[in-house]
């Protein structure tokens, strides 16, 4: 019965926080993007790019802080391409996201081979721990508080969310839909990029090909399960982080690991079909803004 004790152990709690962190940042990123009506499934590729860029810069400069900043910059770069394709050129959001994910998978593997000759790169430095946890975790908690305030209490935040609900109305009062969408998508890239940087520099201490391993999609799942709210997303990400922590730490009798792997996706479908409460995405999700006349 050791496994029951293990579930409630402090170390499992810490592991849960560590596993949940990149997922929650991706979820919040997805939320920012979708609050302006742009679907961003490129989160997966952005995490991967952030992890790679962060690793390279940390090793080149010896500074994990610069590495994390570079991860954010890489996320911004990927998000910029997504915004150009899906907002300016009105490409299908999903296709643009798929293309960026394919790109990130190929490009990070390619560059890892070119730069180091291998597909795995170890990270030499990480930030000093504070109370046993990476400072990025405290920063992320602060980001969630700020995001909750920003999205619901500030003028810009409300404008972002209005864009996701009714683009024509936003346009009619003289606010640029395009600008709002760029802001939403870019913030999402910065957040998911930070998640990727954390994953490689602070958590795994290495980069390896394909290391995002579905975290971007679990982030999307968290966003949906959290009903497109920051705190809901954080809660869902924690639950999914917990299920990941369990997979790595213990084997529960009669519950195969693969079932724990499926859990986030099964729950998301259950939420979408209304079996576990209803979740309503922003009304303009996936739409393009076409000005009449």
């Amino acid at each position: 019965m050791d496994w029951i004790l293990e579930i409630f152990a402090v170390s499992t709690l810490l592991a849960t926080i560590r596993m949940a962190l990149p997922i929650s940042l991706a979820a919040l990123g997805g939320l920012f993007s979708e609050s302006t009506g742009v679907i961003n499934i490129a989160l997966e590729g952005i995490i991967l790019m952030g992890a790679f860029a962060g690793t390279i810069v940390t090793n080149a400069t010896g500074s994990p802080l610069l590495g994390l900043l570079m991860a954010i910059a890489a996320g911004l770069g990927m998000a910029l391409i997504h915004a150009i394709a899906s907002v300016t050129f009105k490409a299908n959001h999903i296709i643009s996201g798929v293309a960026l994910n394919l790109f990130a998978t190929g490009a990070t593997f390619f560059l890892a081979l070119v730069i180091t000759g291998g597909s795995q790169i170890s990270v030499e430095n990480s930030l000093p721990k504070f109370l046993g946890l990476s400072p990025v975790i405290y920063v992320t908690v602060a980001i969630f508080f700020l995001s909750g305030f920003f999205l619901y209490r500030t003028r810009l935040g409300l404008r972002l969310r209005a864009t996701g609900e009714h683009m024509a109305a936003v346009d009619s009062v003289g606010i640029s839909v395009t600008k709002m969408r760029y802001i939403g998508v870019l913030i999402s890239g910065a957040l998911a990029g930070l998640g990727g940087g954390y994953l490689a520099i602070e958590q795994a201490n290495f980069f390896t090909k394909g290391m995002s391993a579905g975290r971007g999609y679990i982030g999307l799942a968290s966003m949906i399960f959290g009903k497109w709210t920051p705190w809901g997303a954080a809660g869902a990400a924690s639950l999914f982080g917990f299920s990941q922590a369990l997979q790595f730490r213990i084997s529960i009798p009669f519950v195969p690991d693969e079932f724990l792997q499926m859990l986030p996706y099964l729950i998301t479908i259950a939420v979408l079909v209304g079996a576990v409460g209803r979740a309503t995405p922003p009304a303009e999700d996936g739409n393009h803004f076409i000005k009449e006349g």
């Binding site: 679907i39 394709a85 798929v98 790109f103 195969p256 099964l266």
Partner: protein
């Protein structure tokens, strides 16, 4: 009337001809710049790739082998598109169908060729169809958007297949998790057994011909049958389709099932064709997602998709061979190029659409 026909021709040339070619050229240009930056002559690199693929019939045969699975996952995307549905679950449908067809192949071992071979294909189709029908059903009954449910079902399929192979089908002594081998009755004949002048000893097999036959059948289904008409009507305008008496719910589920069925047969090329003859999950990852690029590059037309699949086979087979000559350029260069093709294509298509609209306005 005449100008209408002319503008339709212009539309076809721009959207189905110029746009894909521009996307491919830009991808080669960017790939070339990357290759230059590694100190290699891109012309030498690409011409070596070309001669590896087209220089000998053997090369052509290997290229065809690499191209075949992309046809199936691309058809999964494009068939659903005809009904206005976005199936990005080909990856999961491919895994479920692949395991189903392998299971039939190693379970009903007493059946002779071609009965077992055909049964395997049917099992692959049905496995993929089941996995594709689920998001169709959830959309129709509960309003769950198929993009999200197909993404989620991809990961559920991956975990499910891994669980089944490791816990039920695998001999623990094997090390790498894979199923038992399919029986000889399930083997897909290699192409040289059917086309006498084809070189022997490559892995190109009858699945390529199956793909071509399916492309033809799909064109007939979509353009010459009532079901095809109803599927297209649902895609063009669901409201008027419903008003015209088409049961769009049942058409949605059926389209997703057929779409998933295509993806379900994708791994037959590997499992039934010459080679290891068992289901090895790690060998197929990504073919479902790349199928999205192939389908769009083929402009959602079965014949276009065959060409696009051959281009992807060209890149993949070329990348594998060219490594011997240019070891300093990792073969993942073609993955970057494939992604660039996709992103440039969607942008060029939008630009072409805008250009045509402006032209129309001017009269």
């Amino acid at each position: 009337m005449k100008s209408e026909r002319r503008s339709e021709l212009l539309f076809n040339v721009l959207m189905n001809g110029v746009a894909p070619i521009v996307a491919i050229l830009i991808a080669f240009a960017i790939g070339g710049i990357v290759i230059i930056s590694l100190g290699t002559n891109p012309l030498a690199f690409f011409s070596r790739m070309f001669s590896l693929n087209f220089g000998t019939l053997r090369g052509v045969s290997q290229m065809i082998y690499r191209a075949t699975p992309y046809f199936f996952t691309a058809m999964a995307l494009s068939f659903a598109f005809k009904a206005g549905l976005f199936n990005i679950g080909a990856e999961g449908q491919m895994f479920i169908g692949g395991l189903a067809l392998a299971w039939v192949g190693f379970t009903f071992t007493w059946l002779p060729f071609p009965i077992l071979f055909v049964l395997c294909l049917i099992a692959g189709f049905l496995g993929g169809a089941l996995w594709g029908a689920i998001p169709g059903y959830l959309k129709v009954k509960r309003g769950a958007h198929e993009v999200i449910t197909t993404i989620m079902l991809n990961f559920i399929a991956i975990a499910l297949v891994q669980y089944l192979v490791q816990n039920h089908f695998m001999n623990p002594e094997w090390g790498i998790p894979h199923t038992p081998s399919v029986a000889e009755g399930a083997y897909a004949p290699s192409l040289d057994k059917i086309i006498p002048w084809f070189p022997s000893g490559t892995r190109a097999n009858i699945m390529f011909l199956v793909a071509i036959i399916l492309a033809g059948l799909t064109l007939v289904l979509l353009n010459r049958t009532k079901l095809g008409y109803e599927i297209r009507a649902t895609g063009l305008n669901p409201n008027s389709a419903e008003y015209a008496g088409i049961n769009i719910s049942s058409r949605t589920v059926m389209t997703m099932a057929i779409s998933g069925g295509f993806a379900g047969m994708a791994t037959a090329n590997f499992i039934l064709g010459p080679g290891s003859h068992y289901f090895l999950k790690s060998e197929y990852g990504g073919i479902g997602f790349s199928g999205i690029a192939v389908g769009l590059l083929g402009r959602n037309n079965p014949l276009g998709i065959i060409l696009a699949a051959i281009l992807f086979g060209f890149l993949e087979n070329g990348a594998l061979g060219v490594q011997l000559y240019f070891p300093n350029v990792p073969r993942q260069i073609v993955e970057i190029m494939q992604a660039i093709i996709l992103i440039v294509l969607v942008i060029v298509l939008e630009l072409a659409r805008k250009f045509l609209k402006r032209l129309q306005k001017r009269g």
